[in-house]
Amino acid sequence: MKQKLSQKRKISSKQKQNKRIIHVLVLMSFLFLTLIIYLTYFELFIKDNIISSSYNRRLWEREDKIVRGEIFDRKGVSLAHNEIVGNEQERVYPFGPLYSHVIGYNSTTYGKSLLEAKYNDQLLNINPLNPVTDLRDKLTGSRSFGNNLYLTIDHKLEKRASELMGRRNGAVVALHPQTGEILALVSKPDFNPAESSLEERWHELIESEENPLLPRATQGLYVPGSTFKAAVSLMAVDKGLDNKTYEDTGSIIIDGKKIENHGKKAYGTLDLENALAVSSNTVFARIGVELGEENLNDLARQLGLGKKISFDIPLSTSRFDYKNMGKTDQAAVGIGQGKILVTPLHMALITGGIANNGVVMKPYLVDRVVTANGFILKDREPGEFFRLADPDTAKRVKEMMKGVVDKGTGKNAKISGVSVAGKTGTAQNELTAQGENKEHAWFIGFAPVENPQIAVSVILEYSGSTGGGQAAPIARELMVQWLKEQGLM
């Protein structure tokens, strides 16, 4: 009996053991399942933030095996190419700093920026079929080349714009109003994007108060100042205010806030056209109030303020930060001050839109992607982007902007034999608010008025001068240069 009992006990203990062994099997399955779930989770949700780190040398691996594509201007001038020194490849930018805010840099240490980043896959010819084509190249013994980019930039115009800016900080954007092609895109200060130069100067570049790494033309946000009056005129014409006249006494008080003309000058009786020509603050402040909150909000929407614009390189979104507007706000918007911030490129788009009878064309910088042996992979066609005014309104404002250059503040942009339209701006900013004489000088314009070939926006930061004085001559030179290149002068 006792023996049988002990045997039974043994069996019972074994059963208990078996039960626990099954528990352990469940535990092991659970552990392995955790691994699988975490691995899947990592792949779906975590990895994207991780693998773009510049410490991930995979991003550079392809760079050694393939000759990175070349970048050309619209006429085939090489703006960036690879030079092979022994086994190493080096990215060469023949024009140094000139394209630092268009093409960007391609550095093993600091990563890639602008076009070098956005078009990396094309430049390195990365696509899902690579293993197959690579294998073919390996078997045939040919070396792999990336694709080349042809930009819409005109190197001569770009160079001229940069020279005209000189050492002044700011930006110049020139585009073709009828196609949306970017012809010149200059931001100052700039920097030399060559790898060796970056390594040498990186700390200086990131610590400098002038922020030379900021592409101002596309990512700088500025108060538009009086150039915005051209846009306000669109809405004013649309609402029939162009038949009205205003009495300009040099200053006006709206809701207890005093608004003065530049130099406190009184212009007497002005209609909309003349008010724009002399850039009367008192008249446009009143027009702002007369248009009212709803119309001004509509205008901002029509101009694309606050709308994300897709472009070939990162573009800041212009801002119109009003939830509700008081009268002083409406007056400020009327003269382009207040909570409006625009990029120089956006200002050029608005200018081009007016020039193109109300239609803003999609802006683009890369015209063609072409394989090393000349096969065109991608060929961009101009396309309409949005409409900022109906054709008649735009035509009316075009005429008024022509008046600005013919007889108003924009005389410095006048070209003999060519009709030029424009608008000057002298924008107050955080420094002028402290009483310093540091206004931004703006100019927007286009030519010829009857068949626009070029629209330009120029801003000189904290220049302390008027847009008509400093910015208009730069725009003029660029228009002359471009029209001459086109054989129109």
């Binding site: 352990v24 552990l31 990592f42 991780i50 693998i51 410490y55 293993p131």
Partner: protein, 437 residues
């Protein structure tokens, strides 16, 4: 061949994967060499020969060896792809490992002294430890390798098996370690067997702390805890051990710098990506770059990960064979553990049953610890991935363990007759037990 008929498809799949992988490698390697094709053919021949032998010798469980063939195949493909020289060495180790496997599986059945050596095992561990201390060479901050000329060997690999045998020997005869009539200060004390066992187990694990073998330590502790859970029904004993683990972990984080470094690298590798977090960051880059389908054999850049051919080989698998490939490896290990536990359940002899369990757990925990480490699920502790990582010590020990597992599955140790009990019987028996107590 008739033996192949029944198991035709699995072995053929392993062989086919060898053919495809080595074929691709020959196309993608920098310079074509016929050595790759020879290596591939050698692998195919050996996989067939070994698997046919397993069936011919009437081993109880063919799936076990088949699973391992697949794991080793994946390992060799990746290692060969990383470095053909290491690939050849690993193929050599694979062949030696196979020999060890068959010898062990056949010899193990014939020797029956393992159970009685319970006092010997801790001494063997200590001897291996002292051997490393006096003759060892410092590699990556830890003295755990012994070099004989060109030949290196990691004693802690053997310590794992010794430890499992120790636990198995104890639980097959739990009273053996009792110390009677111990004289302390003229008083006579009896020390319960359980505490002597615990002391000796911790002593062996303590040696690993000195050797800085965190991964192996964690592995041995997991095996120890799980076997204790299975065999020791005292809740108090398990709680004490759990408490000691927490205390030990806390103390080591406070006191041991190399533990702190690993913890910091796990919590935020990005803070010091160029330093402490470098390895784990590179591992995550590799896994992330592979995606679900992988770049394909030879098309990724796993060589950016330091120690990729040993501890980080799983990341290389994920990069080139994708997360699906990684999941495949995880599932293969799950099959291995499942078959191991299944074998254990069928063994009647309690010592061999414990050994089989210990080995199955060793494969399971070891793969979990290192895979979890390289994907940053748990802190990284250096340990090899069984059967896949490069290295003679690791591969031969794994085959040794597999041989023992196969040996325990011999019909000799299997339960001679299954005794089924009905629920009622079991209840009655419980009552009986209560009465006698």
């Amino acid at each position: 061949m008739s033996v192949l008929k029944n198991y035709r498809s699995p072995v053929n799949i392993v062989a086919l994967i060898n053919v495809i992988a080595f074929g691709l490698l020959s196309l993608y390697q920098e310079s074509f060499s016929s050595r790759i094709l020879i290596a591939g053919s050698l692998m195919v021949v050996f996989v067939y020969v070994a698997n046919i032998l397993v069936i011919k010798l009437k081993f109880e469980d063919e799936i076990l060896f088949l699973t391992v063939s697949m794991l080793v195949t994946l390992g060799i493909i990746i290692i060969y792809r990383l470095d053909p020289v290491l690939g050849w060495k690993q193929i050599t180790w694979f062949i030696i490992g196979n020999l060890i496997f068959f010898c062990t599986a056949l010899i193990y059945r014939k020797i029956n002294i393992w159970e009685s050596l319970v006092y010997i095992y801790p001494l063997v561990s200590l001897a291996l430890f002292l051997l490393t201390m006096f003759f060892g060479t410092m590699v990556k901050g830890a003295t755990n390798w012994i070099f004989f000329g060109d030949f290196s060997f990691q004693p802690s690999e053997i310590m794992k098996l010794v430890f499992i045998f120790f636990i198995a020997a104890y639980y097959s005869n739990p009273e053996k370690l009792t110390i009677r009539d111990l004289k302390i200060f003229k008083r006579t004390v009896n020390v319960e067997s359980k505490w002597v066992f615990m002391g000796l187990a911790y002593l062996q694990m303590g040696l690993l702390v000195i050797q800085r073998e965190l991964g192996t330590l964690l592995l041995l502790f997991s095996i120890y805890m799980v076997l204790t859970y299975i065999y020791d029904y005292s809740r108090k004993f398990i709680l004490i051990n759990g408490g000691l683990f927490v205390l030990g972990a806390f103390m080591s984080v406070k006191l041991l710098h190399y533990v702190q470094v690993r913890l910091v690298a796990w919590l935020n590798p990005w803070a010091d990506i160029a330093g402490k977090g470098y390895q784990i960051a590179q591992s995550l880059f590799a896994i992330g770059s592979g995606g679900f389908w992988g770049t394909g054999i030879g098309l990724g850049q796993p060589h950016y990960i330091p120690e990729v051919h040993t501890d980080f080989i799983f990341s290389a698998v994920c990069e080139e064979l994708g997360v699906f490939g990684g999941v495949g490896v995880i599932l293969l290990f799950l099959i291995l553990v499942y078959r191991g536990i299944k074998i254990a359940l069928g063994i009647g002899d309690s010592f061999h049953r414990a050994v089989a369990l210990g080995i199955a757990l060793m494969f399971g925990f070891q793969s979990f610890i290192i895979i979890g480490g390289v994907i940053k699920l748990i802190p990284l502790t250096g340990i090899t991935l069984p059967f896949i990582s490069y290295g003679g010590s690791s591969l031969t020990t794994s085959f040794l363990a597999l041989g023992i597992l196969q040996g325990t599955s011999s019909s000799k140790f299997m339960a001679e007759e299954e005794i089924y009990e009905t629920e009622a019987e079991s209840e009655a028996e419980d009552k009986l037990q209560a009465e006698t107590e």
